[in-house]
Amino acid sequence: MKKFLTGNEAVARGAYEAGVTFASAYPGTPSTEILENIAPYKEYMYSEWAPNEKVALETAIGASIAGARALAAMKHVGVNVAADPLFTYSYTGVNGGLVLVSADDPGMHSSQNEQDNRYYAKFSKVAMVEPSDSQEAKDFVKTALEISEKYDTPVLLRLTTRICHSKTLVELGEREEVGIKTYKKNIPKYVATPANARVLHIKVEERLKQLEKFSNETDLNKIEWNDSKIGIVTSGIAYQYAKEVFGDDASYLKLGFTHPLPMKKIKEFADKVEILYVIEELEPYMEEQMKAAGIKCIGKESIPRIGELNPDIIAKAILNEERPIIEYSEDEIVGRPPTLCAGCPHRGFFYMLSKKKNVMITGDIGCYTLGSAQPLSSMDTCICMGASVSAGHGAQKAFEFNKVDKKVIGVIGDSTFFHSGITGLMDIVYNKGNAVTVILDNRITGMTGHQENPGTGYTLQGEKTHAINIPMLCEAIGVKNENIFVINPLNLDACNKAIDDALSREEPAVIITEWPCVLKKLSTEDIEKFGKGKRMICKVDEEKCKACRICTKTGCPAISFDKKAKINEDMCVGCDVCLQACPFDAIIKVGE
């Protein structure tokens, strides 16, 4: 049977068919839907959200050592977090097969950089496969697990946004139950002390040789002969783009297994074509190795290394072809940047924060990163997940030491706090820091589309579980109770007071804003705690409106301005933030 699946859905299906029984991930675009689509196979596979990618990989490693086929999934920057266990698991090797999915984001559709994670396979010396559509995404999961078990290596399955989020037709197969391998205690293999690891490193180098042999033999790396004037070495989505441009006018060496590279096969191919192009997205990963092996080819001289590739770029770069396009004046078009939703609980807090003078605000990765946009503009930095707290601490210490009179506020979300904010907060407490930490707890992982986390009270598979209490957690690591402020972010006075109070403390202080994301499907616990959500909305009394535009400074997309302020009744959820902001009481509540 054929189904129309995204690459992410296909990977999930692949895990099911390949007999995987353990899967873990931390949500991150473009990888999130992999675990979401594994979760429904509850009867066959155990799956969970981990608090961060390092934990996700480490649990998968545990399952693999125990003998189960295991999968961990994350976005490209997540692999940086998981790099530590990856490099050592490369040394020990596996028991049950292990696949690490890295979903890279060329073009940075929703990421802070566009690193090319193929280098991780080379760096950590593990095998790598690169599918070029959903069918391969599914099939390669199984192949990767077989390679993993046969060659005793973790396997990196590298996807990119266009693979993750494009739907193509996939022929489904049956699940093959592989069961669990016997676990035998094996200290020299699984205990990476220096003495053991030295021996293991020799095995790793040996393994790479065998893998290269496999790479030259496997039909994951296949030649498509057509005209031999132009030869193209390519992998992943770049293969599809190359086919789109050249069709049958060129010959292809399509690489599905890309670490180690099949150098012998590449040489043979290179010898038989007149001009050899390497068409790959982002970095010259293959090109560098080919050139080092003395193979003459054209790569990044013509194909850009910045941004997402597409057929147009290739056609222009190599064939100097450009399609005629319709001319029009771009000045007419107004930008449409993403915004915090109408009624978003972060907005009230950011609005009050934006009024504070002489503070540096260190931000983090999540919906609330949008608090950096106009008109709130309340964020000075955004580096990586968790860095709001730790970078905030560093900045505060630097200001203090150099006698700069400035306070620092680090802003982080609930899921992100569990991910890696907590370690930064421990650093603040331990090192007598004074930066204020704000945990914007909207009761869910918002940005990636509502995944459960250790604070929500539910697991990925929908079971009820213990919800970690953030204020108590902060207290447990040493923040004094009197320096913890739990507030409702929709109450502007409360926000203002908490910010001032926290800033006045000489000791580590934490503000926790608690209100569910406006798009969240409320749990029974949420309803108990926050109520059902009112049906009333806000409206502008035009008589009273003095056209001061202050309400528009809250950045709510439901408020527009044309001589007087106006509230879009379809969008407003009655959060009251604008009502409190209006100095002339021109905003009123209407409805039931």
């Binding site: 107004v334 106009q374 535009r549």
Partner: protein, 192 residues
């Protein structure tokens, strides 16, 4: 490559574009085509500009549509048509919903919503304009706007040999089936 057709659906996050594209793709698959569809995720969903791309034909390689390549641009929001106009083929078609969603810079008064948009579009390409939002509201729910658009699209593309009603039926909740079938028909009626 020549037999591959390209459809670009553009609009704003929350307008139901992804569902419309899904239904469209299922219809094309049932008609025996190879289909690839590319969707946008992440940041763009928070009120940002959204596009999905559907390509179909005997054999499709790239899942994305390049500039100057779309046979038809289906626009759920007026201004978004202009943003994507460079993707339309020289002799391509536009199906546009006469509906405005002001973006953040417009809301705060930093910019003005472009004037005479429809005239500009008509000057540039073969443009069909209609008010899907009003039609959807008349049918009882503005959310069916996406299916109204879908109806117009399938008609404009001449994809009339597919049983769209069955596919719509299997993609919406039981109690919304009738409303959506009506929306589909109304949409088809909009295009001559």
């Amino acid at each position: 490559m020549k037999e591959v057709k390209n459809i670009l659906l553009v609009g704003v996050g929350g307008q139901g574009i992804i569902l419309a594209s899904k239904i469209l793709s299922q219809g094309l698959i049932s008609a025996g085509y190879d289909v690839k569809m590319s969707e946008v995720h992440g940041m763009a969903q928070r009120g940002g500009s959204v596009t999905t791309q559907v390509r179909f034909g005997k054999k499709v390689y790239s899942p994305i549509i390049g500039k100057g390549q779309a046979d038809i641009v289906v626009s759920f929001e007026k201004m978004e048509t202009l943003r994507w106009l460079d993707h339309l083929k020289k002799n391509g078609k536009i199906v546009v919903n006469d509906y405005e969603i002001p973006s953040a810079p417009i809301l705060v008064g930093d910019a003005k919503y472009p004037q005479n948009l429809i005239d500009i579009l008509k000057e540039k390409a073969d443009t069909t304009v209609f008010k899907a939002a009003e039609i959807a509201k008349e049918l009882g729910n503005i959310k069916t706007m996406n299916v109204v658009m879908l109806g117009a699209l399938t008609k404009a593309m001449g994809l009339t040999d597919v049983d769209w009603e069955t596919i719509v039926r299997s993609n919406v909740k039981e109690k919304f089936v009738d409303m959506n079938i009506n929306a589909l028909r109304k949409g088809m009626e909009q295009v001559k």
